[in-house]
């Protein structure tokens, strides 16, 4: 949902006071390691914890901004962020309510893109040795269903998972079979840049109930800039032009 800007007073340069949020700390080399309730951490100068408790941290300093951003302190301009922290805590401890629910299968490390923000140590698209083996896939499916969770989500990632489409088909088939045997609900998601999606793939995802998660980094000029070797038509444009995509788009596509 679109959201209008906060009123000008919400951007007041200096809060009159700040309040503590729960955190733990320890000395770490010549610094202090601060960890909040959601597990986020900050390495800060010695004396930071005492400064927080005593209220002596300079609220105009870069340190205070870090402390506020990492949920160690809040002030009258940041109360909505408490809900953000609560959500992070819920996410962190979600596994306690029924076991691990999200299982990510990296079916290949290959990718034809080189997005600078990507965390994956990608391999060139020609190296088949970086694909998941069937033995690993079988064991991973078994391990996933060993979770006490009654509803599990299998997310197919990479690299670019569509480069290993045959492995995706193998895993989807095997996981569905095991879900029936173990009487569990299975959600299937493939996270892809869609650059190499074909009609055959998209029809398969539609027919098998595999949700597609993709991302656009904004308008074409920005989207293409984040990865030098891709162009808009090779990602969203390519998929939108696809005849299967036209009908698929409205059904299960989620844009991040």
């Amino acid at each position: 949902m679109a959201r209008s800007f906060y009123p000008p007073e919400a951007f007041s340069p200096r809060p009159s006071q700040f309040f503590l949020l729960p955190f733990r700390f320890t000395r770490f080399n010549d610094q202090e390691l601060l960890v909040n309730e959601a597990g986020e951490f900050l390495l800060a100068p010695k004396g930071t914890a005492r400064g927080l408790v005593d209220g002596t941290i300079d609220t105009t300093s870069a340190l205070y901004k870090d402390l506020k951003a990492k949920h160690f302190a809040y002030d009258d301009t940041s109360s909505p962020l408490l809900d953000v922290l609560a959500t992070k805590i819920r996410t962190k401890y979600d596994h306690l309510d029924g076991g691990t629910k999200l299982h990510i299968f990296v079916v290949t490390l290959r990718c034809e893109h080189s997005c600078h923000y990507c965390q994956v140590s990608r391999q060139t698209a020609s190296k088949d040795e970086f694909d998941m083996s069937r033995e690993t896939a079988d064991r991973s499916i078994s391990l996933m269903f060993d979770s006490p969770a009654s509803h599990v989500t299998l997310e197919l990632q990479g690299g670019e998972p569509l480069l290993a489409f045959e492995m995706i088909q193998y895993i989807v088939s095997g996981a569905k079979e095991q879900a029936e045997v173990r009487r569990k609900t299975l959600n299937l998601v493939v996270t892809t840049n869609l650059a190499c999606a074909t009609d055959e793939m998209l029809l398969y995802f539609r027919d098998e109930g595999v949700k597609v998660s993709t991302s656009l980094d904004g308008p074409a000029f920005l989207h293409n800039k984040t990865a030098p070797d891709r162009v808009m038509t090779a990602t969203s444009g390519r998929s939108m032009e696809s005849s299967a995509a036209a009908s698929y788009w409205d059904m299960t596509m989620s844009l991040r």
């Binding site: 209008s4 914890a49 005492r50």
Partner: protein, 135 residues
């Protein structure tokens, strides 16, 4: 605040620290001793009103030298005292955060300040944001 009474043993393998419980609580001292128990045999006794006497006997395997024992112990003890202050100061907000995090219905979620909506969409009489928000 505290005094150190080193023993008269030749190798100085023991030390005693007299600590005001106004500065470091007994609980904080016990926690400090727990972390020191790998390297020292520890004992905590009352030593008059408002004071505790911590006795430490160095184990052979300890990497902490007796010369640095007082400072090292007090640093850790003051850290535990500070943690108690953090816990006391944040107990209420922690309860609220956990309640928000694990409430099933979402009733504890605050509505963010400001106006929701897209001005163009809101201008339409049948706009989606008219229906969903700001009522």
């Amino acid at each position: 605040m505290e005094q150190q009474r080193e023993s008269s043993l030749p190798h100085k393998t023991t030390a005693s620290l007299r600590i005001s419980n106004e500065v470091v609580s007994v609980d904080a001292l016990l926690k400090t001793c727990y972390w020191f128990s790998r390297d020292f045999f520890c004992d905590v006794q009352k030593d008059g009103p408002g004071f505790s006497l911590v006795s430490l006997k160095r184990k052979d395997s300890s990497p902490i030298q007796m010369e640095e024992l007082r400072d090292t112990f007090m640093n850790h003890a003051l850290d535990f005292a500070l943690r108690e202050r953090v816990t006391a100061k944040t107990a209420d907000i922690r309860d609220i955060l956990l309640a928000k995090a694990f409430s099933e219905s979402g009733v504890l979620e605050d509505r963010p300040e400001g106006v929701f909506g897209d001005p163009i969409e809101e201008a339409k009489s049948d706009g989606m944001f008219k229906i969903l928000g700001n009522s």
